[in-house]
Symmetry: C2
Subunit: 152 residues, 2 copies
């Protein structure tokens, strides 16, 4: 497992995302760690992120899957290109398509674990499959199609 | 167009949703209006809901589509059942599956308009197609499969 999350290797100008940007003080600042085969994010939602009382808001679940997907895409692409992240910034991906299946209600007050695996990786596109679990029970699954952000 | 949003007809115990619950002080409190053929929600995101600077966070877009989908499902089902919402509470739907295609970057600082149409409605399930636009330009499309919440 990498000792730093991939988001810390983004350039500052693309680090304001509400979901994962370390420069967004109001945001979730999720952190995606990659071990070469799988990515992991852990996140405990605040209690006001509720859907039906007792369960986590589905929009937050979608948000976590979205940003963990682009983070996983960036980490996998950095590895595919053999980038030395000590000296070169990570590529930055954005979401083209997001799919979430809500399998079970996600309980509030728990640390959620998201894992990501790469289904497909091409020159500029990465498809990531994600599982979100609480207490090892899978509550939601998702798929994120990410494309690399072009320079302006 | 109904003069009140469908969310105002939910029972109080299911009105705490971060996306659309009128009892969630921290939430978006989106409002879904239904005219018998189409639903509409209008929402202007705060500036900190950013993705790449200048554009709206995809997780928020997914959240709006999610809640507008369940709201549209509730309104359409109330109509199908000929419920008099002056005396009977609306049914409450939750999301089984959410899909979002991000067609164009969504600009910040604009009022967003979400419209919903019902693709399929059965006894307890409603499939809703949604378009999200800014300045009449469609920036995202979505599909929400909603199922009616059973009584506890």
């Amino acid at each position: 497992m990498e000792s730093k999350p991939i988001q810390q290797f983004y350039t500052e100008d693309v680090s304001h995302c509400f979901g994962c940007g370390y420069l967004n003080d109001r945001g979730h600042q999720i952190q995606t760690y990659w071990d070469g085969k799988q990515s992991v994010t852990r996140f405990t939602p605040d209690a006001y992120y509720t859907a039906i009382p007792g369960y986590v808001y589905g929009g937050l679940i979608a948000s976590l899957i979205d940003c963990h997907g682009t983070g996983t895409a960036a980490a996998a692409m950095a590895e595919k290109r053999n980038l030395d992240l000590a000296t070169i910034k990570a590529p930055r991906f954005v979401t083209a398509s997001l799919h979430v299946d809500y399998k079970k209600p996600t309980p509030v007050g728990k640390e959620l674990t998201l894992t990501g695996t790469v289904r497909e990786i091409t020159e500029r596109k990465v498809v990531v499959d994600i599982e979100l679990s609480a207490d090892t029970i899978v509550c939601a699954t998702g798929a994120v199609i990410s494309v690399e952000l072009r320079d302006a």
